[in-house]
């Protein structure tokens, strides 16, 4: 069984946000609730300000703290290493949102980011939070795929509706092989500078493993012990090198 993981080359990422947009379309996300986000940080003043950016999907950790705190086991890890949420079992206690060190979980029952409220314009049917004019994958509540229902938490699924259909034993899912393109996660498939790679971390011959080895891939906040399955290539720095300390910003609430 594969252990799916991702490699993001920060030296190639241009911060164009095509990944975020593709993810939003693919997964029916509401504005501001991006499974995949490119975070921007500004630091310093003229004449030498710094603008940095950091692409951040769910880390699909080997030891996911979100899964351990979930009282109903709604958050679970699949045999192929993907952390998912069973929306039929999620009770919306939001402990996972508290316990995730990476801030990648979403509860859509909240004030809208922009007006008019998209949820009011495209009203959801039944328990669904909204009814997007463009529909992504088929609804699969037990894997947290599709339109998010009310009262539950959601997160990046590594596009589980795609990768779970890939041929078994595939070392990498990339655009390079036309036969595999349909199984590539939306953010990887759309990445113009090819800064993202997706493959089997348990397969020593996969491209993701070779990149991690050759370019010294590192993980974000490794000290938390969560052991992300998303690795960053930084050209030698730490994974968080693109992120200023949160106290570098103005902290007035």
């Amino acid at each position: 069984m594969a252990k799916w993981g991702m490699v993001i080359d920060l030296e190639k990422c241009t911060g164009c946000q095509a990944c975020s947009t593709a993810c939003q379309m693919e997964n029916n996300r509401l504005p501001g609730e991006n499974y995949q986000d490119v975070l921007y940080y500004t630091e310093g003043k003229q004449p030498a300000p710094t603008l940095s950016w950091f692409p951040r999907p769910c880390m699909h950790c080997e030891e996911p703290s979100c899964m351990h705190v979930c009282p109903t086991k709604a958050t679970f890890k699949t045999e192929d290493g993907v952390v998912l949420i069973d929306w039929n079992k999620c009770i919306g206690c939001k402990f996972c949102m508290i316990a995730c060190p990476y801030g990648v979980r979403f509860y859509t029952d909240e004030k809208p980011l922009i007006e008019p409220n998209i949820k009011s314009v495209f009203k959801g049917e039944g328990d669904l939070s909204w009814n997007p004019p463009y529909k992504g994958p088929q609804q699969d509540a037990s894997h947290g795929v599709g339109i998010q229902p009310n009262g539950v938490v959601s997160k990046c699924t590594f596009c589980y509706h795609k990768i779970s259909k890939a041929p078994k034993g595939t070392p990498d899912l990339s655009n390079d092989d036309p036969a595999l393109r349909e199984f590539v996660p939306a953010c990887v498939r759309t990445c113009a500078p090819t800064a993202r790679y997706f493959g089997d971390l348990d397969n020593p011959n996969s491209k993701v493993n070779r990149l991690i080895s050759a370019k010294k891939g590192v993980r974000l906040l490794d000290h938390t012990g969560n052991k992300p399955q998303v690795y960053y290539l930084t050209g030698g720095g730490a994974a968080g090198g693109a992120i200023p300390s949160s106290r570098a910003n103005d902290k007035k609430a």
């Binding site: 999620c90 009770i91 919306g92 206690c93 801030g103 509860y107 029952d109 004030k111 103005d250």
Partner: protein
């Protein structure tokens, strides 16, 4: 069992106010929730995840814990001076626990799903589950104990064992609630093995404060109290109250100084906390209450001051632990800003109304003044 002097305090007024508050607040909460769902709260994915309803939950379940501690002084540890308020404390522990649970039920996305999903898919690693198990067991034991006491059975083997079991259950329950926050290494403002102990201390002081306040509300003033209650309120009670309060003040100061000094990312929120007047109001109220208790004046106002102070403290603890954003970039460039919505405030009113209505109902119908014969 003896029935002591009939209560002369404003029980009827408080019962009416509690019922009115409950109807109005519950009505407004239901309107908000039915119209907007949880969007009626000012919580959110890029903001505060656990808002004022969780603050209210923690405040009241820890108050319930503390009230059981006060009742246990007589029923478990044999300090007979506390018997005259023991039954009232048990009843109040029940209603504060229900008030806390009610606030939480309104906050959870699927409270009814919780009833089957947790037992059928029990995640033993989750502190939240153990909190639920032990608080549920505690509620059951507390009700059984109250049933015994209400029937005049204070001292049978079963009654004593129920008292001890309730005490043990709530010590573990509050510890697991402490674990919900204390286990979160990714949120350093909360993290630490001593958080359950911090909760134990603050629970004890909140129980003492509510026990004093409700006793004064029952009788109106000290002159109207039966002699044994008056002796307790002028002697052992304020002394125990002051002693625990002193340790709580030290704990608050110690957490603040450590937080201000330490440099881990996430702890910068302490600068924000001490810049707020609420922190100084919290501290001032506690210190002033402590000295008022030492001077031997009536403990009622110190009790009110401590209740207000502890509510500020619970808000500060739970909200501040989330104020430093985790990987939100320019979505949240500074600390997260959070102001509770009307619906959230109405949940606070609802919980307090449940407590005061529930207490007044008990005072009128359940003979809360009862104590064992030898008392």
């Amino acid at each position: 069992m003896t029935t002591q002097t009939a209560a002369k305090g404003p029980v009827n007024t408080i019962m009416a106010a509690g019922l009115t508050g409950l109807v109005v607040s519950l009505g407004l909460v239901m309107v908000g929730l039915l119209q907007e769902g949880h969007a009626a709260f000012n919580t959110g994915s890029n903001g505060i995840t656990w808002g004022l309803p969780v603050v209210t939950y923690v405040f009241f379940v820890l108050t319930s814990t503390g009230l059981t501690f006060v009742a246990s002084l007589a029923m478990v540890f044999g300090f007979k001076d506390f018997y005259p308020i023991a039954k009232r404390c048990i009843w109040l522990a029940v209603v504060t626990l229900i008030a806390g649970f009610a606030s939480l039920a309104m906050e959870i996305g699927h409270p009814f799903r919780m009833l089957w999903a947790i037992p059928l898919s029990f995640q033993y690693l989750s502190p939240l589950n153990w909190m639920g198990v032990f608080y549920a067991a505690y509620l059951g034991l507390l009700l059984l104990k109250f049933h015994k006491v209400n029937g005049g059975d204070w001292d049978s083997g079963t009654s004593r064992q129920l008292g001890i079991a309730s005490f043990v259950a709530v010590v573990i329950a509050h510890g697991t609630l402490g674990g919900v926050f204390g286990s979160m290494a990714m949120r350093p403002m909360w993290y630490g093995g001593l958080v359950p102990i911090y909760f134990l201390l603050t629970a004890a002081v909140s129980g003492a404060a509510f026990a004093v306040l409700i006793t004064y509300l029952t009788y109106g003033n000290e002159a109207a109290m039966p002699e044994k209650v008056r002796t307790l309120m002028q002697g052992a009670m304020p002394k125990v109250f002051a002693a625990v309060l002193a340790v709580v003040i030290l704990a608050v100061v110690s957490r603040t100084v450590t937080g201000l000094w330490s440099n881990a990312d996430g702890l910068q929120v302490w600068d924000h906390i001490v810049a707020s007047p609420w922190f100084w109001i919290e501290l001032l109220l506690m210190v002033a209450a402590f000295f008022m208790l030492l001077t031997g004046s009536s403990p009622m106002w110190p009790a009110v001051m401590v209740i207000v102070s502890l509510f500020i403290g619970r808000y500060e603890f739970i909200i501040s632990g989330q104020l430093v954003p985790l990987f939100k970039g320019s979505w949240v460039p500074g600390l997260i800003s959070y102001t509770p919505s009307l619906t959230e405030w109405m949940l606070v009113v609802m919980a307090f109304s449940i407590v005061f209505f529930g207490w007044a109902f008990g005072e009128k119908s359940l003979n809360l003044e009862a104590a064992p014969k030898e008392q």
